[in-house]
Amino acid sequence: MKLTGAKILIEALKKEGVEVMFGYPGGQVLPIFDALYDADIRFILTRHEQGAAHAADGYSRATGKVGVCIATSGPGATNLTTGIANAYMDSIPMIAITGQVKSSLIGNDAFQEADVTGITRPITKHNYLVKDVLDLARTIREAFYIASSGRPGPVLIDIPSDIQQQETVFIWPEEIEIRSYKPTSFGHPGQIKKAAKLIASAKKPLIYAGGGVITSEAHHELRKLTEKLNAPITWTLMGIGCFPATHKLSLGMLGMHGTAYANHAIMEADLILAVGARFDDRVTGRLDKFAPYAKIIHIDIDPTSISKNVKVDIPIVGDAKNVLGQLIENINNLPDTSEWLKTIESWKKKYPLKYQDKKDIIKPQYVVEQIYEATKGNAIITTEVGQNQMWAAQWYKYDYPRTFISSGGLGTMGFGFPAAMGTKVGKPDSIVFDIAGDGSIQMNIQELATCVCNKINVKVAILNNGYLGMVRQWQELFYKKRYSYTTLTSPDFVKLAESYGAIGIRVTKKEDVRRAIEKAISIDNVVFIDFKVEGEENVFPMVPAGEALNRMIEGLA
């Protein structure tokens, strides 16, 4: 039986196990939307294509499945691009489907035409322009395989409208073989042996884990290895949840806004075991002063991440789960870490994470702590970008992978709310909180309609300080308090939520914080809580950009 390209797309998505898609219709995807009308796939109509891309991304981060979003040609596709770039920077498996003007018009400046494969080339792992309906099924199969294997990432499929309408027999390729794409899965045994030997001889080993641990579902192996070595462990923003934050070997996050003890540990360590992390500039601080005493073992699936910023002594290319398993088997002699752990314990006592709590003012950190207490650490937290993100990273203790969902590499304001939406769709039984700022929340606030219409009951905690807080903080510290265009006037978030059919709660007193959070959780609707917090609170500790990691500004408290 022959099917149209649009129907083939739907059948192929079902073969790939796609249960839900986020997107927005338009002229050049009409055949696909016609096929979606009675398809067995849940479709969520967002209010902006950017919302669709971030929702698919959030869905993927929360579930580990491939997120799917769809938009029309031209402006629909260009609106997806921030979301695609965001997924690319954080290695999130995602498929973006875009309509394209019909084949005969490509390159003619047709209505709503854009060179979408050209635009997205540097922000996708791979992309396709389908020029023949015969290639469609195989292209979709390849796209899912590429998106979800190796170092995952977004793959875009651009489908001209005439290809969506042409008919052919649907043949699903069960096996896929791409001769030019063979990700390395297991670590080289020789490298594993060398690493095991180096680890045994270390006196001050430190594990530095990143998002790759979560992507490869390697958290059990990571915990096993950490406990076996009895070594302290720190992680990146993307690594949050890869290891229980409440564990005694945990040092929390490192880097620009990491804990002081994690940063001191990395500067004093004689061995760093990096797993699925890429030595980002927000992590290393000043490169030539980074980890001066440490030999570095680096486990990563992506060879380009190795020795890109920091010179590595023992590189191991492979999947984190497999390589950690190999390491656990090969490590027979264990380092004696007792002295090292004592030093670290003393740093933990001397430089705890802290803020100056006040009776009459709501501190943003206090709000995050109360969300942690009220949800007993069992919620999934998404964040926007800026101070809200750093406080959410610092003051909520994440014990499980895929419970902290945040835009790491690209730092996209406006990510958290649609990502919360995608998360809640993927994890309907979890409490999902978007920890937001008054700036970021306004960047994709239109998705309130999507959440309300589809009963996607996410909770949004706005840490409303009346500023674009992180930029203001930099202006305070490095630009003589010249607050250039960082003061912010916002709408009445309570009324705004209500106008969409959601619930709005305003909190101005500290004693009402906990009650508001509990009320929000109990309400069977989307809830915005507008916390009026301290205006000029800063995120500390802070390593100024370009400084060594142990040159932290500790703050007042």
Binding site: R121, H126, S180, Y181, P303, S307
Partner: protein
């Protein structure tokens, strides 16, 4: 330092743009580029000459190229036994009284004049970089009006 890198790629539209994009996005220049089909028409062979200040940059270039889905194999000829050649066409000022002088230069370099026009000659030469440089030095006295180079191609020993 200049490095010759060869890349076997899928012979599809857009592949060259992906490769060029890697360089342009990082502000690296491609010194020369030659692309053609191989015996297997589904595969193209790209020879590139790239400028890389240090090993680290060259390593990144090679890794990034390998990371592209459509790239099959990347070979760096820098430390590998290889032969490389480039074809050049040059138009030089010429009149019949210069014939013996020009022939002397051409014979020495192993080049030839493929067209002799009224006031110019078109010179063809295929050779390695030193040979070509030597020829161009010899041709300077006649005035080089135009010069077209194919870009280097290379093969391993």
């Amino acid at each position: 330092m200049r490095h010759i890198v060869s890349i076997l790629v899928e012979n599809k539209f857009g592949v060259l743009a992906r490769i060029a994009g890697l360089f342009s996005a990082r502000g690296y220049n491609i010194a020369s580029l030659a692309v053609s089909e191989t015996l297997d028409p589904t595969i193209s062979y790209i020879t590139m000459v790239v400028e890389a200040e240090d090993e680290k940059i060259l390593e990144q270039i090679k890794k990034q190229l390998n990371k592209l889905i459509d790239v099959i194999i990347v070979t760096d000829f820098t430390k590998k036994g290889h032969v490389d050649r480039e074809l050049i066409l040059a138009k030089v000022g010429y009149s019949s009284k210069d014939k013996s002088k020009l022939d002397g230069v051409l014979n020495k370099a192993g080049a030839k004049a493929i067209q002799r026009l009224d006031d110019a000659a078109i010179i063809e030469m295929m050779g390695n970089q030193d040979d070509i440089r030597e020829l161009l030095d010899g041709l300077k006295q006649f005035g080089i009006k135009e010069l077209v180079r194919s870009g280097r191609i290379a093969i391993s020993k």
